[in-house]
Point group: C2
Chain length 431, copies 2
């Protein structure tokens, strides 16, 4: 049985088109928003008035209502009677200027631009509040999974102190492919690019900058903690090799790009990096390009949200949900929950995984163990798969819970030994 | 590292106590709400004014502010200056009368009473809208997991057509215990009662009436489908035996109490019953007393929500989140999304699992297969564990996808054969 999706839910009366909407950007998400508005036209109170895009002629489609104005001039939108501007051009400039101008001109804004909100959200939200306007950004994090609304409203009664998530579908797709097919990192990346899950320049995804912007937004909304993107440490997933999955499995874990922020005393601990995740954790079960977030509160414990974190349609759902919020609610009057600034640290106290690649000779374990011991770090286990070349031998140490900074310091010292064939690769092990 | 939860987030200025709150009921949830309000007093805009309970003297605690009035007289609350009444007495009466009186007296209401909202929600919500008041019921479904807010707001942009969930922690606890420890149904129930997960009279949980009330609310909020509780078919989990788990595992499945509602053409398909769930599904991974909901939308696909579905603290989070929503927002002005009525059916088109217990003799499979064939039902597989007594032999047939009504009809016919030692036990297999 497949659900028939043509059921008209409101066959008799359409609500009046109370809300005029201008679209700024007509790429994947923009056209999906237009399609969704068109498909639900009879049951939604929105009228699309403008579509802006550079070189707009090549974008024009015939399934959009005839009275929609297509333009390459932002001022056409700014000077129009549209009450809401949906910003989907991405990037910091000119998006920042345009959103600011729209708010100053009395227009509500909905955006899917995570970098804009991560970098300028506090200022823009203050401006929106001052002008008594909505600034919706539910589409910035986890696409169609309504985590912003959930943290901001649904879990508002709790005091959240921890968020952990898989927030970048590209990284998750690549890591899943390496795990499942034994592909090399380079091949998995190429595959992701061919499948449309990774961009030609995948830097922002692989290095963690994309996930970091989302984490900054989640910290603000969920933990009331104000943090700048550049304060959050990122480590690339590019060092993860197939053999790391073999060792991870031996340890009952898998490897995922994990974004996390935790309040502890007067600090915000935050990072985006590849990590070992126990197979029993919800975070370990996210395959392919999906997203998942676990929030933890003092009173309600752990809550899990999962679904499609990207793509035109899921992101369009988030945009239209924000539009509906604007149509249904006045801007918040009593919502000035002041975010606090904390010292930001990535120095999590956690067990660690360290993979060494060495030219084998006697005394290596003793040498490494000596450095660890001098740094006050206890070894938990030593793993070595049989059958590897003695001249380029990978083996793994797991370390008992200690500060990440200590491990970095010890690994730097160990890095000076001449038996090492490459820089040791370190990952935290989540608990 | 454990998060320290004593961090004062708003050390400098407390918001004014704009919102006076009266508590109707001081059991597990009521006292948790009071504790949460007290713990977050410096950062929440609420002042607790009244606590109502029968025989209130034995309820009084010293950690509640001194100026709170303890009373056994509902009229004290009704005639007070409290702006919001939190209804936690449960049951249909007098809760229905009291909530109605509160709304008529101009008080907003927050309730965790799922039966009240399932049976009278439409009328009470209409009354609240008429009086321009909030009626919050986020605590009615899945405790601390904010599914109501998510479906109503976060996914409002989508057109949802399916919800499936594990909505009753007691049933899930019992089924998990049978699965993990091999306990009998009776022993698992006793264990659940001792652990405080099942009530002395567990009828509402086991028969599915508790989950059904939640499903009715989810159908209204998520699918805009108006359905009365008595229209939704329920089947007890009491027939599930340890051997069903053995067969289910052979089929790559587990067994859970599943609540589901699906829009298909002009019908709402809905039921609450034990079902086989493939191990790969999120629904199969809910252990113990947790809750999980999967919603499916035309545009955004599947979204998963999971967490603590019951208990004082998680439910208190939902109540206080509703209170914050009231403090932050005006009641919805343009939210009269009219729910539609559909014909309701439990006749899902699905594969089935049927467990027979027979006195073995030749020709039994042929006899059963004959009845199935006459009813147009195809057998998918026949499973029989070795080593069982010939005089009371359990075996299982799985049937290819067909209507549940057809299977019922055929099983009734088969039930007349004298080789059967008990009524065949039927469960759908989720896909």
């Amino acid at each position: 049985m497949t659900a028939t999706l043509k059921v008209a839910r409101f066959p008799e009366s359409s609500p009046p088109k109370a809300c005029k909407v201008a679209l700024l950007g007509f790429g994947t998400v923009g056209s999906s928003v237009a399609r969704l508005l068109s498909a639900r036209d009879h049951e939604l109170p929105f009228q699309l008035t403008h579509v802006y895009n550079r070189d707009v002629a090549r974008k024009r489609v015939d399934w959009v209502a005839e009275d929609v104005q297509w333009t390459e001039d932002f001022d056409d939108l700014l000077n129009s009677d549209a009450g809401v501007l949906v910003e989907l051009v991405g990037g910091l400039q000119p998006a920042y200027e345009w959103v600011k101008k729209a708010l100053l001109a009395g227009k509500a804004v909905v955006t899917a631009n995570k970098q804009l909100i991560a970098h300028h959200g506090t200022e823009l939200l203050a401006l929106a509040r001052e002008k008594d306007l909505h600034l919706g950004f539910g589409a910035c994090v986890a696409g169609g999974v309504p985590v912003i609304a959930a943290l901001q409203d649904g879990l508002a009664g709790d005091r959240l102190y921890k968020v952990r998530g898989i927030l970048n579908g590209t990284c998750n797709y690549i890591l899943t492919r390496i795990e499942q097919s034994g592909a090399s990192f380079a091949d998995a990346l190429l595959e992701a690019q061919k499948a449309g899950f990774a961009e030609a320049d995948p830097t922002d995804d692989l290095e963690g900058y994309d996930a970091r912007a989302k984490l900054v937004i989640l910290s603000r909304v969920g933990l009331n903690a104000e943090v700048r993107p550049e304060e959050v440490a990122c480590r690339s997933i590019a060092g993860v090799a197939q053999i790391d999955f073999e060792y991870a499995h031996q340890l009952g874990c898998t490897i995922r790009q994990i974004s996390r922020a935790e309040l502890h005393d007067d600090r915000l601990y935050a990072s985006v990096e590849p990590a070992l995740v126990p197979q029993t954790e919800p975070l370990a079960r996210v395959a392919g390009s999906q997203n998942l977030l676990v929030s933890t509160g003092e009173f309600g414990g752990e809550t899990v949200f999962a679904g499609f974190g990207a793509g035109g349609n899921p992101t369009a759902v988030a945009v239209v949900s924000d539009l509906l919020h604007i149509a249904r609610h006045k801007p918040r009057e009593n919502d000035a929950a002041p975010s606090a600034r904390y010292k930001v640290s990535s120095d999590f106290e956690t067990p660690h995984y360290v993979r060494f690649v060495i030219q084998d000779k006697p005394g290596i374990i003793a040498a490494i163990a000596g450095v660890l011991s001098r740094n006050g770090i206890n070894i938990d286990s030593v793993l070595q798969k049989p059958g590897c070349s003695k001249s380029e031998l990978p083996f793994v140490m797991t370390l008992e819970s200690c500060s990440s900074a200590k491990v970095s310091q010890a690994v730097t010292e160990i890095g000076r030994f001449d038996f090492l064939k490459s820089t040791p690769f370190v990952m935290p092990i989540l608990r």
